[in-house]
């Protein structure tokens, strides 16, 4: 009797509900993060046991790793500062505009605009490579030669000056993801009577509507979109190398911190060093998220 009661108790225990998730979470997320932090103080080649080397990895990164300091960090920050906010604003305005058109047309356009995020950036990198191809057979180059009579085709993907901007364009093209859908749904759910009441109160201007009704009403979805876009931009790995044709892109153009970590982790197998790089990335991401919550989060 006692036993079965104890069993029933156990079945009712809240901890039982989170147990399956908690076990997996600890195994594949919590532990890996702690291990990565630990590994960042070691030298580890995946085969031999890690040897503790203190802060050497960090010292090396900040004093000797010119690719990291001159390319990866500035590229990552520039990339996320440009792609994050611009993509985010585009997502909001497109969502707002789509909310103004009739249902049927809206559905079609929403699907079209969302479609790049279904296919994923790496898959589409192959298509972009053909579009920006470096000889006259590339679509863009042949257009430039015909219309603006430039002399020779531009080596878009092999030239460091062009590669990074192209990478930004490609990312923006594909940045209408879940955040966009959430904002669209949020705008559609706003009570129409709010706008009518505002019109009676003398609101005439569309901009006033957006800033005083639309944005405050969908604040949760706005924050959701902001978090999604921050995570998305900091996790965009491998785009530069996929665009330039595999391997390291010319002069490390578009080389992000994530690429740097992957490079050290899985081509050179210096896991300790790669872990230190990811720890630094984590600090940067956390800083940016703090800013996002400052901007959009509601207190209490």
């Amino acid at each position: 009797m006692m036993k079965s009661k104890g069993f029933k108790r156990l079945l009712q225990s809240p901890y039982l509900f989170i147990a399956p998730y908690a076990i997996l979470f600890i195994l594949v997320i919590a532990l890996p993060v702690l291990v990565a932090m630990g590994l960042s103080f070691t030298s580890f080649n995946t085969i031999e046991t890690p040897t503790f080397i203190g802060l050497k990895n960090y010292v090396d990164i900040f004093t000797g790793d010119t690719v990291f300091l001159q390319n990866a960090v500035s590229n990552t920050i520039l990339f996320s500062v440009v792609v994050g906010p611009i993509g985010y604003m585009m997502a909001f305005f497109l969502a707002w505009m789509l909310a103004q058109v009739p249902h049927k047309a809206r559905t079609i356009y929403a699907v079209i605009i969302y479609s790049p995020s279904i296919t994923g950036p790496i898959m589409m990198a192959f298509v972009w490579r053909i579009i920006f191809s470096g000889d006259e057979t590339g679509y863009i180059n042949s257009m430039l030669i015909n219309m603006f009579s430039i002399d020779s085709p531009i080596q878009f993907l092999q030239d460091a000056d062009y590669l990074f901007p192209i990478m930004i364009i490609v990312s923006l093209w594909g940045s209408m993801g879940l955040g966009f859908l959430a904002m669209l749904a949020g705008i559609l759910n706003i009570d129409r009577s709010l706008y009518e009441a505002a019109a009676i109160d003398g609101m005439r201007n569309r901009w006033q509507e957006i800033f005083y009704i639309t944005i405050p009403s969908i604040k949760p979805q706005m924050l959701f979109g902001a978090v999604m876009s921050i995570i998305g931009t900091f996790n965009a790995a491998g785009l530069a190398s996929a665009l330039s044709g595999g391997g390291t892109p010319p002069q490390y153009a578009g080389w992000l911190i994530v690429d740097h970590a992957n490079d050290f982790g899985f081509t050179r197998f210096e896991m300790g060093y790669a872990s230190a790089v990811t720890v630094i990335l984590l600090v940067i991401v956390l800083l940016f998220n703090k800013i996002a919550y400052r901007l959009f989060g509601e207190r209490g």
């Binding site: 009712q12 809240p14 509900f17 989170i18 399956p20 998730y21 979470f25 195994l27 594949v28 919590a30 890996p32 993060v33 291990v35 990565a36 590994l39 995946t46 505009m97 058109v101 356009y109 929403a110 699907v111 605009i113 479609s115 279904i118 296919t119 994923g120 790496i122 898959m123 589409m124 192959f126 298509v127 053909i130 579009i131 006259e136 057979t137 679509y139 257009m143 093209w173 859908l181 959430a182 669209l184 749904a185 949020g186 559609l188 924050l223 959701f224 921050i230 996790n235 790995a237 491998g238 970590a261 982790g265 790669a274 872990s275 990811t278 720890v279 984590l282 991401v285 956390l286 998220n289």
Partner: protein
Amino acid sequence: MEKINKVIIKEEKIDIKESKRREIISKVIIYAFIVFFAIIVLIPFYWMILTSLKTLDQIESEIPPTLWVSFKNMMFVNYLNALEAAPYLRYMLNTVIVATISTVGTIFTTIFAAFAFARLNFKGRDIIFMVLISTMMIPGEMFVITNYITVSRLGWYSPFSQTFGQALLALTLPFMTSIFYIFFLRQAFKQIPDELYLASKVDGTSDFKYLWRIMVPIAKPTIITITILNAMGTWSAYIWPNLVTKEVEYRLVTNGLRNAYLDLTGRVAYNEQMAAAMIVTFPLLVVFLLLKKYIMRGVSRSGIKG
């Protein structure tokens, strides 16, 4: 007196006319912008289809590249060649298996955990949830490095030998949990009124029964959304499957795209590569189109209260 009235009516008429005109102008601007953006989004897809239907000579020597291929010149044979270049049917089967396993796992863990965080009271609930949310910001590479080590230590991956079962374990393990989906589902659960829960407590219903009988059916749209998103995510997974599979046959669809598409003379066969990209992308687009309604229904409940 009458005169004044007339003037007011006249002014109102002008006002209505003016606002109607404004309405039309803003409609035109909005449509123009949306159509413009939609075209920009579609261009690469169009080029993908176009290139996949050309001959290699056309691609390499046409200056300027033509923007249309007539039906009788369409090279559907590229698709057959692309299918032969990599075991795509096998890849698709693998992808479907991996997607099923990881989605079932994800849904199972997510429903229970989201329920606990949304409804049950226990010590440390809010602190644990805060910790969970903050791990959402952790860059994926951080797990990838250690998960790679974990999977190799568990014996599921080694560069020398690996069975299909081991490959499946290695491929699905890191995708059984998602902080994001818990977050998503918790939000949906939270919108279900407390009264329902309290009433069921009075009736003596267990938490477990309440979860399955009441909360899951109500939150169905969100659960369906999670299912779809998770399955589609597997389809576009690229880095992880590449790392933890030894045999080429164990990989997933996107990995097939990285194959070198070379023709007999060693030229890169862009047309076949694009055909392969179409083969991989097309099912995803179709699935999204068919299930769009459900995705939107689930997403509409999302949002973060800071």
